[in-house]
Symmetry: D2
Subunit: 326 residues, 4 copies
Amino acid sequence: MGLDRMTFEDRPDPGAPGAGEIRVAVHGSSLNFHDLGVATGRMPTADGRIPLADGAGTVEAVGDGVTEFAAGDSVVSCFFPDWQDGTATIGDFSRTPGDGIDGFARDYVVLPATAFTHAPKGYDAVEAATITTAGLTAWRALVVDGKLKAGDTVLLLGTGGVSIWALQIAKAMGATVAITSSSDEKLERAKRLGADFTINYREQQAWGRAVVDWTQGRGVDHVVEVGGPGTLAQSIEAVQVGGHISLIGVLTGASGEVPTAALMAKQARLQGLIVGSRREQQEFVRALDATGIRPVVDRRFPLEALADAFRYEMGAGHFGKIGIEW
Amino acid sequence: MGLDRMTFEDRPDPGAPGAGEIRVAVHGSSLNFHDLGVATGRMPTADGRIPLADGAGTVEAVGDGVTEFAAGDSVVSCFFPDWQDGTATIGDFSRTPGDGIDGFARDYVVLPATAFTHAPKGYDAVEAATITTAGLTAWRALVVDGKLKAGDTVLLLGTGGVSIWALQIAKAMGATVAITSSSDEKLERAKRLGADFTINYREQQAWGRAVVDWTQGRGVDHVVEVGGPGTLAQSIEAVQVGGHISLIGVLTGASGEVPTAALMAKQARLQGLIVGSRREQQEFVRALDATGIRPVVDRRFPLEALADAFRYEMGAGHFGKIGIEW
Amino acid sequence: MGLDRMTFEDRPDPGAPGAGEIRVAVHGSSLNFHDLGVATGRMPTADGRIPLADGAGTVEAVGDGVTEFAAGDSVVSCFFPDWQDGTATIGDFSRTPGDGIDGFARDYVVLPATAFTHAPKGYDAVEAATITTAGLTAWRALVVDGKLKAGDTVLLLGTGGVSIWALQIAKAMGATVAITSSSDEKLERAKRLGADFTINYREQQAWGRAVVDWTQGRGVDHVVEVGGPGTLAQSIEAVQVGGHISLIGVLTGASGEVPTAALMAKQARLQGLIVGSRREQQEFVRALDATGIRPVVDRRFPLEALADAFRYEMGAGHFGKIGIEW
Amino acid sequence: MGLDRMTFEDRPDPGAPGAGEIRVAVHGSSLNFHDLGVATGRMPTADGRIPLADGAGTVEAVGDGVTEFAAGDSVVSCFFPDWQDGTATIGDFSRTPGDGIDGFARDYVVLPATAFTHAPKGYDAVEAATITTAGLTAWRALVVDGKLKAGDTVLLLGTGGVSIWALQIAKAMGATVAITSSSDEKLERAKRLGADFTINYREQQAWGRAVVDWTQGRGVDHVVEVGGPGTLAQSIEAVQVGGHISLIGVLTGASGEVPTAALMAKQARLQGLIVGSRREQQEFVRALDATGIRPVVDRRFPLEALADAFRYEMGAGHFGKIGIEW
């Protein structure tokens, strides 16, 4: 799928919802590295696949038996519409919107009610859409898997969507946060969001060591590893004995040299994860309602300019999320 | 031990610290229901036992091999000086200061370094002393046992030391809090500390039901049960299916009628606990340093007026902690 | 519902399965205290409710989209057909077969495929039916909630269906088991199943103390509490500091005096539970396949003699499960 | 330290135990890859370091305040004598016998009582010594970290000490086990110990795929990864979505190519670990007492022939543990 060949015309109207389904007027989405992979063909999908995993909008009608939602409700989609609760059981994208099934780059969808949750209170559609992938990934890494508590220390790599969501969640729960970037200006923005320690990794290439020093030699409790093999060695250096590294990212490649003996000596946990369950998203929404966190949307593009939005994403100049609205 | 017979003269100076020990000039303590039990003789101890489980002050000297502390450090005592880490293994007060061993109502102590942690930054001795029993109990109930996360709902009973500590911890981690009292004025104070829902249980005797309604029928995630059998039935009513009740209190008695079938039907967990380990206290101190929470000290008494302080505690007119300083 | 008024005639054939459903020829069930409550009217249900929560049989046909089962498969029902995985979310019997919905005392059912799991290999229908309620309750108490490991000590009360299942599970995982009964003959049978320590509670009324002595003063790791308030005080005495009591039973009443201060001092956990999720049942079936455990079926009755079977259950003379087959 | 330069003469007698210490007549040890690293100088230690991390023998005398042991007791050493309980806090060998401090290749030691646990009942000194490193590593991987339950599937790599201990533990708890080796004869021995599925990885180089097929496509719950980077890719392939890989080994190197994206997609956990705490060893001993497992000692060497024993270990022809006795 070439970026310039993505069109959004002539989508047939999906009609009325059947039993257990809801009809949603979609008004917003946001971009993720995964969407970019689909859009550029790096992650192959069926021909004509409608892109975009994130989707938020307004319920227009509900089918028989749907009690959780009513017409007029603001809703946001689930990355794994079949993963309702419990242990991770899905290891591929065969049922993820915008990949294995059609995504949200369209005006209307009819899907099972269980493929959505309520949107956080007061969020517009773009803001809501940022929780489907990036927000829930950060929540799961720190809170579900990491059992984050006040006073914990967290290391975040870069200022993309997952990292900035993780920064906001960590600060709302009383944690202390270090964050890296190649841009002093982005590090300043991170500070204004509460970051306690910032590292320009171009200037301080031994950032793993710098983080250890910042913790007086103890190492951090959690690392949200969005980089992959290119950053993992320093993340292992930065984590404390018995600590927790959430392995999310493939930004630096899908495979590479890893100092496994160092991970072993640290008695650290490297937890692979992809987003989370619908129940986790419901709990995340409750957390957002309670704390009043609002996501950082760097810039918004109309749906028609989706190719431009992806080009902007590739430029790596953004901070937080890139929104698509219509 | 009669309240008026507690004297604080003629304590021999404990001298210099031996290997692994520290000498601490004690300057503050705070009162707990447990101390009151010892002071009134409800909980029998050895004759002449020096009271007070909580103690905070300044390190005057450290013995051989002590690297964690240095002279001049502010420190606070541990409720279970032998419970360093890991699973609960202590079910009595045989080694608790002010009960099985001498407490902190004196000018100087020499004890193993492992019987203390650093005090939270910026705390005076009375403030620091409040974490030994009440603070760590609240932290363990919500954070260690309860795995509290942002968006969780918490029910607190009354406005004593544990409940107000729990209120502050819960709010600092993004939770939503309901709290009960018989005093509208205390409920107002709780609101100013962040309480989201307040219930005057004299006016609203079915407070368990009121809490369920407040959560739109869902029930709360956590109850910090300081009452005991007299309140447990409504606490079980208030908790959600699969929820968590921390059983801390004996304010309404040591034994009583409990609707066990209701607990079973709720699939809820009733977790007995007494304070926590030294490692948990270290993590709690880190949380206090990170969040800047300061404890609520209702009133301070000089050590000489300890009997008056206990009488004030018995009056139940206080809010938060009662401090003792010298 | 009077025991003698239960008839099993004229049930209409449920026809062919719809999408996502399976048609099952039911051939076996087993009795639980819960079924007895329904049958005797102690637990009120709708008029004409078909009894029996446990059901096992053979798949006759599968509806569209069903891939997990095929005609000819042996299957067993789930106590909570809607609870698929994850955290407990159900606190009533409104959707439990034989209570809120029709049960298995009939020849054919058509139900969602997700209301069943595969039966353990080599089990007949009565044996398979014993896992729905009693077996899964024991598995959840010890393994899911209790994280049972080899070397743990377990206390079981009586020799009913849950306790005998718990005995077999505990022994298959390397635990050490104490069990009580009023019958020396039943205790002998328990020994033959691997029980390590047996107590006739008529002779040794201080059985809680006896269990503590048996563990050299340490107390047991787990108690499977099927008694309720009448036995809970001694169960609390028997459990170790930091131990785990599964609260399952209401045999001695739905409410009663509980020494809450003792539970607190033990820092023990009292975990209410009702059976478990479908995923837990799938894992339990896998455990049964791996270990080759076969349930203890005390006696089998034909479906027509269901009233007699319930009378036999009330007599409390049985050991393990009472089967119903047709 | 050259293998032939290890001598065991002229060790001064350590004398009587001080307060909190015990004097132990050491009679057995066993070899680990870690000891080999120390002996060959691959892991540098202080000059004249007495080797061997594992040690078992008989208590000859106890110092003041020691109540856990008495003269005549059989005891076994702890790999981390300072790690008593709780979260992993040690990430190096600075306090491990035979590395950072003197080990057990001598007739008598005087050490804190907390550096030992009771030996399993009926074990001789060599058998007991095998639990210090290899046994506790396997126990922690599967039971402490892995929460192993009956019916779980386990993949073991090779037939060294950790893997064979893991095989015995897994079978005693009702799990199902696959194991690899390059020797059909060793695979036969593993089968006799209960292995359910054996793979000769010379013949079946795609052993990861073979394990997935053996589980009908599901993947295993646990992998005990003793290989390191050379085997990790296939271990990731073999594990199920949401599964657990214990990262123990460096047999194939300390660093290497790892398919991190595959680990992420599997949502699997890679848990680094080094042995465990003293409390975990106590629980492991209780499990051995309850289950009657006896370790597999491939061959025994006298202490004087320690160099020969290490050469035998390097030959990789052994199965289970190599014992040293004196």
